[in-house]
């Protein structure tokens, strides 16, 4: 059994944009299915051909990946943020007409899915609902592209802070009939704060916003409960994080920072995948160089080899600074774009091989 999957029910693949997270998540899915698991890969925004390969192009249903012949079963799904958010609203809004009111609110329509942190929220929402259904042995989550890997963990907290800090309460009664927004402001003596907000944004904005928050106030309890449940799932010993990162000095520093932060948060980082680290032709140990009359070919070869030898040094430093219980896998650059089942299997195979070393 490959250790990545040992005692693992949820595997969260995190990393900044452009590092090949989705591809790594999909090949881990294949690897798990080969091991006999019933596994689901939840993706965010797969490239077209990868979506075709997984059989999920243009659909957001949980779909059995076509053309597989594994001991286990491989399923995949694209998370539809708008749909997940709307579904959450409908569940959370106690009366159906208030759900309709929110869904029809101009600001909600325009911006519901652009609330910062909302993609992270919907990803976790979807992950949790599948997790709760207990339909799968293993769920692999491919997280939204963020500038920094750590953003994914901070985002839901930002969103729930909005509710725990009681912003909704502020906006509950913009006319100030009860001790609502204005009343509250007056009472607490922070009338100035509102004035400032109004001078920055204008009264129309405040009114729209008040309407928005008034309508979503009823989510508060649900959202907070959900945040607690999701957090419990994320810190559970059966949930493991896999950091996917590319290879350059800044990215490695970020990975080290991430590894420290994630530990501080009580999460379990088990794997680091360094993707496209070195080209597949490279063998740094070998001295056999071959011969060619062409000066440029020889020069290009030696320049690239020196370049990657320098990077190897950076890598050694990186690995020595990581904690011992984190496995690091190095994936070579295969030149081609991996998007078919065969390519994903090949990538999975390399990860499995890496484990034996």
């Amino acid at each position: 059994m490959i250790t990545i999957f040992q005692e693992t029910q949820v595997l969260v693949c995190v990393g900044s944009g452009g590092v090949g997270k989705t591809t790594v998540a999909a090949s881990l899915g294949i690897l798990a299915a080969k091991e006999g698991k019933k596994v689901l890969v939840l993706t965010i925004d797969p490239a077209k051909r990868l979506a075709q390969t997984l059989g999920i192009e243009g659909s957001t249903d949980i779909t059995k990946v076509p053309g597989q012949n594994y001991k286990g079963e491989l399923y995949a799904s694209v998370i539809d943020h708008k749909k997940t958010f709307d579904a959450f609203v409908e569940r959370a809004a106690k009366k159906s007409d208030s759900a309709k009111k929110i869904l029809n609110n101009g600001l909600y329509k325009q911006l519901s899915t652009s609330l910062s942190g909302s993609q992270e929220f919907t990803s976790l929402e979807k992950l949790y609902s599948v997790f709760e259904s207990k339909q799968f042995d293993l769920i692999i989550l491919d997280t939204p592209p963020t500038k920094h890997a750590i953003d994914f963990l901070y985002a839901p907290q930002k969103l729930s802070a909005l509710f725990s800090e009681g912003v909704a309460k502020w906006f509950r009664d913009p006319e100030g009939k009860k001790s609502g927004f204005f009343g509250h402001m007056l009472q607490s003596g922070t009338k100035q704060v509102l004035k400032i907000l109004e001078s920055l944004t204008g009264s129309t904005f405040i009114r729209e916003l008040g309407d928005f928050f008034m309508n979503i106030e009823q989510w508060q309890a649900q959202l907070l409960q959900r945040t607690v449940d999701v957090h419990r799932m994320l810190v559970s010993p059966t949930t493991h994080f896999c950091l996917v990162t590319s290879f350059d000095q800044a990215k490695l520093k970020e990975a080290e920072f991430f590894a420290r932060e994630i530990r501080k948060g009580g999460y379990h980082l088990k794997t680091v995948v360094l993707n496209r680290v070195f080209p597949h032709w490279l063998n740094l140990e070998s001295n056999i160089t071959g011969t060619s009359q062409n000066e440029e070919l020889l020069q290009t070869y030696s320049k690239m080899k020196t370049y990657y030898a320098d990077r190897e040094k950076l890598y050694q430093q990186f690995e020595s600074r990581l904690k011992k219980d984190v496995r690091v896998f190095r994936i070579p650059d295969l030149v081609k774009d991996i998007s078919d089942i065969k390519g994903l299997e090949e990538l999975g195979h390399m990860i499995a091989e890496g484990e034996k070393v």
Binding site: S16, G17, G18, V19, A47, K48, G106, L107, Q110, L111, S114, L115, S116, G117, P145, K158, A161, L162, S164, E165, G166, V167, W170, T190, Q192, V193, I196, L197, S199, L200, T201, G202, T204, F205, E208, L209, S246, Q249, A250, P279, W281, L282, N283, I288, T289, G290, T291, S292, Q293, N294, E296, L297, Y301, K303, K305, T306, Y307, D310, V335, K336
Partner: protein
């Protein structure tokens, strides 16, 4: 002289930041006073150039070249200070727990604050940004479109008041191609090229903009195919395997180059430099930013 603003974007991992630094260095060498702007809470250039710190307030990197890190919160804070003028009130506003929570997630507020700050020079609004040229190391594709759409969306949603007015004026500047220049960085690889094309169409359809493309890390060699084939005969040697790699790489690269050239008005090719020293690398890239 009118201020020029350059946005550098592209798929994650294509080398946007380093290209942006190259462009900024180039502009500074042309005699302009340049500010290289990073977005968000964490600085890439701090680690990259090994600087002690990169923050909201510009810091000098080289002659005529400064760097700053602008986030939604810091931009908004400065803007509020400018409007309110009383430090104590600004503090009261930003240190209020509810306000902090709100600012963190408010729809498009952070994007709007950042874009407001970037375009404040041409709009002649807010604190002075005393530079001839801003080079913005912007967010990756998807998030970049969120930045672009924030002012447009807000201008539509909010008709009246300062929020609406500001949004409209930001949107106008962003569409003015005498002021704002858009650069999409890509690699000679399939996915980044696809994403660059998609972004180009979105910018064209939604904002009538014509971005230029920067094809980064292009392997510039001219080893004849026959030589590569010859070297491959020794398939067990490193050089043989390398020759095969080079052949495949060049073939793919050529195809993607032609496709990219067809799709964009202007294309800049930046070679793959085997250079690990940050400033030497940025120097080499800047020479290509014509």
């Amino acid at each position: 002289m009118k201020q020029e603003i350059h946005f550098v974007t592209g798929k994650g991992g294509v080398g946007k930041s380093v290209v942006a630094a190259g462009l900024a260095l180039r502009k500074s060498r042309e005699g302009k006073k340049v500010l290289l702007v990073e977005l968000g809470d964490q600085s890439f250039f701090k680690d990259f150039f090994n600087e002690p710190d990169v923050a909201f307030k510009p810091r000098e990197l080289k002659k005529n070249l400064d760097v700053a890190l602008w986030s939604g919160e810091t931009s908004l804070r400065e803007y509020a200070k400018y409007l309110i003028k009383v430090e104590a009130l600004t503090k009261l506003f930003f240190e209020n727990a509810v306000m902090r929570a709100f600012i963190n997630v408010a729809p498009a507020l952070s994007e709007l604050a950042i874009m407001g700050k970037i375009t404040s020079g041409p709009r002649d609004y807010g604190p002075l940004v005393p530079y001839d040229c801003l080079v913005v190391d912007a967010y990756a594709t998807g998030h970049f479109m969120a930045l672009m759409r924030a002012s447009k969306g807000m201008a539509q949603a909010i008709q009246f008041g300062p929020m609406g007015e500001q949004s409209r004026s930001i949107d106008t500047v962003l569409r003015n191609q005498d002021i704002c220049h858009y650069h999409i960085v890509t690699l000679p690889e399939e996915l980044p090229v696809r994403e660059a094309e998609e972004l180009k169409s979105q910018l064209a359809n939604e904002f009538s903009l014509r971005p230029q493309v920067i094809l980064n890390k292009f392997l510039e060699t001219s080893v004849p195919l026959a030589t590569l084939k010859e070297a491959q005969k020794d398939a067990t040697s490193d050089l043989g395997r390398f020759a095969l790699y080079l052949e495949q790489h060049q073939e793919r690269q050529r195809g993607l180059y032609q496709e990219t050239q067809k799709n964009f008005d202007r294309l800049i090719q930046v070679p793959l430099f085997f250079e690990t020293d940050p400033w030497k690398l940025v120097e080499l890239i800047s020479e290509r930013m014509v």
